[in-house]
């Protein structure tokens, strides 16, 4: 089996799995309990938080554990809305965000908020002038993704940070789910106030995630209750999940440079290969994350290609897994200026450090066969 669908989810790293198991066996206490078992869990949880904070270069008070990326995005957006509704009711985002952001925005619109959706260019990037024009006196949040989950395109976060320097009261939220470990995110230096991460995208267990919330930024909790996570995220802490999450993050960032070089070279090898195939169009812009390639065979629907490769034991996806069960068009690709037909042909390869160059070579051989069959479709 060749698994090239790592942007949908990743296989949990074996040693991370062992950690998850060991913590469950040895540290099952509720961190809010006052006895030793609770205290040990509390300490372990704090250690994980500290480790994550150090790896991310921020303070441990700025790390909030969540159940994943979707919760994080919902929390950042609606938590800002609730905390800042007295200051204004306008938010800015882009048209190619993840559904977790877009649907949260839609919900706010339904209760009277104003949302500006910035367009993107051929590279998938927003236009900074459009952003500047969109900022109003009552803008409370700018929400942009670091790496697009469908195409790997990058938003100019540094330039956006500079624009927002003049607007200190606006919250800047970044959905960084696809970016972690792949592109540089300087949380401390940039103007980013909130960044959202998901564990299962980097070989940690599903149902885990964390969020960076800059000190001093006010957010209302999405889930309220027992006072956990400094009152920002309530509910008994998933200690085993969070410890495993910290470990996975350490592993991810340990060989970051080498891993990304390897991913880039595998990606480049695939791009070179595709460039020789007449009916293949690559949708990922040249400047994009090292692990994602979006492409399509002319006139062949994406799911046909997915299933054809699946028969050969190769797993890729049509678009983001979140909406790929419904027959919706691949929105990011259309917004980047491609036709509806092209968008319908799009599939995505997404790599991780578990993939090898051998797999890339096997993929090419297999793809040759499938391509010969599918390219004939008019």
């Amino acid at each position: 089996m060749i698994y090239f669908d790592n942007s949908a989810t990743t296989r949990t790293e074996a040693s991370v799995l062992d950690t998850y198991r060991a913590v469950n066996e040895q540290y099952f206490g509720n961190p809010s309990s006052l006895h030793q078992l609770g205290e040990r869990s509390r300490q372990l949880l704090d250690q994980s938080r500290k480790q994550i904070a150090e790896l991310m270069g921020v303070n441990k008070e700025e790390i909030v554990f969540t159940s994943g990326g979707t919760e994080g995005d919902n929390f950042a957006i609606k938590g800002t809305a609730m905390a800042k509704k007295g200051y204004g009711r306008h938010m800015i985002t882009s048209i190619t965000e993840h559904p977790a952001v877009l649907k949260s925005m839609e919900q706010l619109e339904s209760i009277g908020w104003d949302v500006t959706y910035l367009s993107v260019d051929k590279k998938g990037k927003i236009n900074l002038n459009e952003l500047k024009t969109a900022i109003r006196k009552d803008t409370v949040l700018v929400s942009l993704m670091a790496v697009n989950n469908e195409t790997g395109s990058l938003q100019p976060l540094k330039e956006v940070s500079e624009v927002l320097e003049d607007h200190p009261s606006i919250h800047f939220h970044v959905d960084a789910v696809q970016a972690l470990g792949k592109v540089d995110l300087d949380l401390n230096e940039s103007r980013i106030d909130m960044a959202v991460f998901s564990g299962h995208k980097f070989h940690a267990p599903k149902g885990t995630g964390f969020m960076y919330v800059r000190k001093g930024r006010k957010l209302s909790p999405l889930l309220s209750g027992g006072g956990q996570e400094s009152g920002l995220r309530n509910g008994t802490e998933n200690v085993p999940g969070n410890v495993a999450l910290a470990k996975a993050l350490r592993l991810l960032l340990k060989n970051k440079k080498a891993t990304n070089d390897r991913l880039s070279s595998m990606k480049q090898s695939l791009l070179n290969y595709f460039s020789e195939l007449e009916k293949v169009t690559v949708f990922s812009p040249e400047e994009s994350a090292p692990h994602i390639i979006s492409f399509g065979i002319k006139n062949s629907r994406g799911e046909v290609l997915v299933h054809a490769l699946e028969k050969e034991g190769i797993y890729i996806s049509t678009t983001s897994a979140c909406s790929s069960r419904k027959n919706k068009s691949v929105h990011s690709i259309k917004e980047m200026g491609h036709s509806k037909e092209q968008a319908a042909s799009a599939v995505r390869i997404s790599l991780s450090n578990m993939n090898t160059k051998d797999e890339v070579e096997i993929f090419k051989k297999t793809f040759n066969k499938v391509y010969e069959r599918l390219k004939a479709i008019e």
């Binding site: 159940s67 994943g68 309220s224 799911e303 897994a321």
Partner: protein, 384 residues
């Protein structure tokens, strides 16, 4: 650590070894995203739908009425905040002894202009049907009453309330936080006319970070966490497959040994009480044994500060609690005991919650009684 006597199963429970095994295997073998259209995704989807059936059957619901969440707190938040949004009427009825995961969202709603009636409880820690009858108004949109209390174990007359509400005004939504009762009580959401019911896995030897919310087909609910189309648009986010599979295992295991566990817990509870009496430890029960959850007992140990008693027991490797675990960092007076006894009652600072579960042995109870006695004698002498 292995020798720790764990009597705090109401706070959280150790995962059953078979549950850990299932999760481990699931993470290794089935890592596909359940929304992916390829084979790996379809396998994951199949596991989730099977688990959903198991969850549904456990409360006599239909599969499509189960929304999988990240746990009890999320389930309660959705139930409270998202059921009333589009309803006409601004009155909600609850009890004074609910879990913070219910009380906090209600506090938010009260700030938004909702009128909340907090029913007081009787000496058994229960509300009565009469109280509900008197509290229901034309404007009542939601009644949220916990199934069994987490600090004193009192069971509420859920079926009576559900059937009454159905009769008097079927539009009123009936929610129950069943986090402590699930897996110990026979819950039938249809017979009890329950519209919303919250459950958490880690209280029944399942994994942390997973739970479900039952939502009757008869009511509509808005999603709290939005994004992808998972859980039929009711709860976005990549499904936590290994935890779902582990939770399913925990439900199956509990189904097989529920009656036995309940009988054992009750036996331990009675043994504990009789041995304390035998040893002349001065105590009274907060609430009552009748009409309470078998696995929870709350004791007022007269004249013994619970914070100090807890330390003594902890040093003897006995893990118990003063109240609920959910007051992270801030050990304020328990709102449950305050509701039961009134403010400034000595019981508030002199209460021990002991909660039983799998793995507890008779000798653990004997040792615990022994240590409680020693500590009580020590602490009382010290005071004099």
């Amino acid at each position: 650590m292995s020798e720790t006597i764990y009597l705090d199963h109401a706070a959280t429970t150790p995962m059953h070894p078979e549950v850990i095994e299932v999760m481990y295997e699931t993470m290794k073998k089935h890592f596909g995203n359940a929304s992916s259209i390829h084979q790996l995704g379809r396998e994951s989807r199949g596991i989730i739908e099977e688990a959903r059936r198991t969850f549904a059957e456990s409360i006599h619901a239909r599969s499509q009425e189960i929304i999988i969440t990240s746990g009890g707190t999320e389930s309660d938040n959705i139930a409270i905040l998202k059921s009333v949004e589009k309803l006409k009427g601004n009155h909600i009825i609850t009890t004074a002894i609910e879990h913070p995961a219910v009380l906090e969202p209600l506090k938010y709603l009260s700030e938004q202009g909702y009128d909340i009636t907090y029913l007081p409880v009787n000496e058994k820690g229960q509300v009565t049907l009469e109280q509900i009858k008197n509290a229901v108004r034309q404007e009542t949109v939601l009644v949220s009453i916990m199934y069994g209390n987490n600090e004193i174990g009192s069971l509420m007359p859920i079926q009576e309330i559900g059937q009454y509400l159905k009769e008097v005004d079927p539009k009123i939504i009936f929610h129950t936080d069943a986090v402590q009762a699930y897996g110990t009580e026979d819950i039938d959401v249809k017979a009890s006319e329950i519209d919303l019911l919250s459950v958490s896995a880690h209280k029944i030897n399942g994994p942390k970070g997973i739970g479900f919310l039952y939502k009757s087909d008869n009511i509509t609910l808005n999603p709290l966490i939005r994004g992808g189309e998972q859980e039929k648009n009711m709860r976005a986010g990549t499904e936590n497959l290994p935890a779902i599979a582990g939770f399913k295992k925990a439900v199956e295991l509990r189904k097989d040994n529920k009656e036995e566990l309940k009988a054992t817990n009750l036996y331990f509870k009675k043994l504990l009480l009789s041995k304390l009496k035998e040893n002349h430890v001065d105590f009274s029960i907060n609430g009552s044994i009748e009409g309470s959850l078998a696995h929870i007992i709350s004791l007022h140990l007269t004249g013994v500060p619970s914070s100090k008693l807890l330390i003594h027991l902890d040093l003897a490797n006995i893990a118990v609690s003063t109240g609920s675990a959910c007051s992270a960092g801030t050990v304020g007076p328990s709102h449950v005991l305050t509701a039961l006894h009134g403010e400034d009652d000595p019981a508030i600072g002199e209460t021990l919650r002991i909660s039983f579960g799998i793995g507890v042995k008779e000798e653990d109870i004997m040792k615990t009684v022994d240590k409680i006695k020693q500590a009580v004698v020590f602490l009382k002498n010290k005071k004099v």
